[in-house]
Amino acid sequence: MEERGFRWMGFALALVWFVLSLFPLYFVLVTAFKPPLAVSRGPTYLPFIDFQPTLQAFRDAFLGLRGDFWGPIVSSVVVSVSATILAVLLGSMAAYALVRFEFRIRLASGLLFAVIAIGGFLLLHDLWGMRVPFALGLVLVVALLASVLVNRLPLPGPVLGNNDVTFWFVSQRIFPPIVSAFALFLLYTEINRLGLQLTDSYLGLVLAYTAFGLPFSVWLMRDFLATVPLEVEEAALVDDVGRFRIFFQIVLPMALPGLIATSMIVLAFIWNEFLFALLLTSGDWQTLPILLAGQQSSRGDEWWAISVATLISIAPMVVVATVLGRMMRSGLLSGSIK
């Protein structure tokens, strides 16, 4: 008896939530087809009964009557696709290394890196007056070399293993993005002054988003790659196949479903990202979220037009969510998310 009661409650809850999650989307879809008059007369829900659907809003948007619309779409697609490819490629390489090789990093050498990097930067920039990008680049290279060398020495102090390295990657997600976004903005404007345009440019955005997507791809790909059996690789190693060929021709194809899932998640995050785009773009490379946020102020609230823009920006993600939902149902993701 009690069992049944809980089942009913669960079913009712699921049903209510189902309606709640779909209703707003339905409303946007409907609004996009409304003529302006139908919108301003108050909320209406059923096409053909409450109002006559029209494609006017879509036509306006794509013919550019409400400002450049194709620009943001193109830049969104180009930037998010290239950043996703880069992030997933680099991320799965890093994840592969984390799964197959054992790293031992001494905390002391990590600290040395921080000391040389920060101290050296202050020295070069503030005392010798070196330009920020040069000082930063020089200092990072020197600090990296020094800490790699020092890592070989038997230093006292704790030794960090692979799990700590992974946590280091994931921890990048913990701190608020305004911290890095703002620092990045300052650095980009510094580099701009040297003549290399990074703010509001393809290169700058892709770089920022690759860094933004890396934590996810390392984290997820690590779980997926851990399930790839070792024996095949060992066989290939015996046959004297190079590591790169093993990675690209054996490991990656075997982890293909995971690779697809990871790419989609990373793509979704980059596609939706707002803060970096807000800070780093101003005109040429504005992405869709920025266009959306700008919609409301430019000409008052023209809800039919806003609905069209919103629909365009969420349509690819609906596809992504559907595909991922199917993968989840087949039990593919349940193992990896744990």
Binding site: P24, P43, P176, P177, L279, A293, W303, V318, A321
Partner: protein, 225 residues
């Protein structure tokens, strides 16, 4: 600071309770659950900016369905986005709407990884569903719950896009979150130093808070385990 904490904590509480309940419902295969799985995922993948715009439309004083509903139950028009408390409530509900799926997804994965034997044993011993949940399911899922809540809290602290679009921090500054405040200082008032200082303080606060939370959570899980 206060605003951010209120929004974050309240919305995470709702997300967790709702998300867990939904995960339980899905786990026990209520009718139509395969359809729900896809739809429940959906809000999570939509651009927060888009979601916020939709929410603005839904909460619109006289064009939105929300006030249509309010009128139908006889409450009348409520100024959802221009009255401080209501604006907070609207923001929180949007956050809950968008991120409950995340909790559901992870809790479902957690539920599916639990060993079945324990539940069968409990069933044989004729232990009620309510007690089964509190004495078995909940403690066993505590580690993953801790992780999920942590992720949501941290993410919640960073919220800017929803607020930026829905209320712009208003009315007044009643819904201005930390990130939005830092952004406004730097890019509207060109107070770069202030923004740097703010974001750095922010970082320290998040790190402190995270360490505290994780330490507390560890004690809690240990007591149960």
């Amino acid at each position: 600071m206060w605003t951010t904490s209120v929004i974050t904590v309240l919305s995470v509480v709702f997300q967790y309770v709702l998300g867990f309940a939904l995960a339980l419902a899905l786990h026990h295969n209520v009718p139509g659950s395969s359809l729900y799985r896809v739809t429940f995922l959906l809000p999570m993948f939509l651009a927060p900016v888009g979601v916020a715009l939709i929410a603005r439309m839904i909460f619109h004083p006289y064009l939105g369905p929300m006030n249509d509903l309010m009128g139908a139950i006889g409450i009348g028009n409520l100024p959802f986005l221009t009255e401080p408390n209501l604006a907070m409530a609207a923001l929180i509900s949007v956050e809950v709407w968008q991120w409950t799926p995340f909790v559901t997804l992870l809790m479902l994965a957690g539920l599916q990884s639990l060993p079945q034997e324990v539940f069968e044993a409990a069933r044989v011993d004729n232990i009620g569903a309510w007690r089964r949940f509190w004495d078995i399911t909940f403690p066993m899922l505590l580690p993953i719950s801790v992780a999920v809540v942590f992720i949501r809290l941290v993410e919640g602290f960073k919220v800017i896009d929803t607020v930026f679009v829905m209320t712009g921090g208003g009315p007044g500054t009643s819904t201005e979150t930390l990130t939005l405040y830092a952004y406004n200082e730097g890019f509207k008032k060109f107070n770069i130093g202030m923004t740097s200082a703010l974001s750095f303080t922010f970082l320290v606060v998040v790190i402190l808070f995270g360490t505290l939370y994780l330490a507390l959570a560890q004690r809690l899980t240990r007591r149960y385990a």
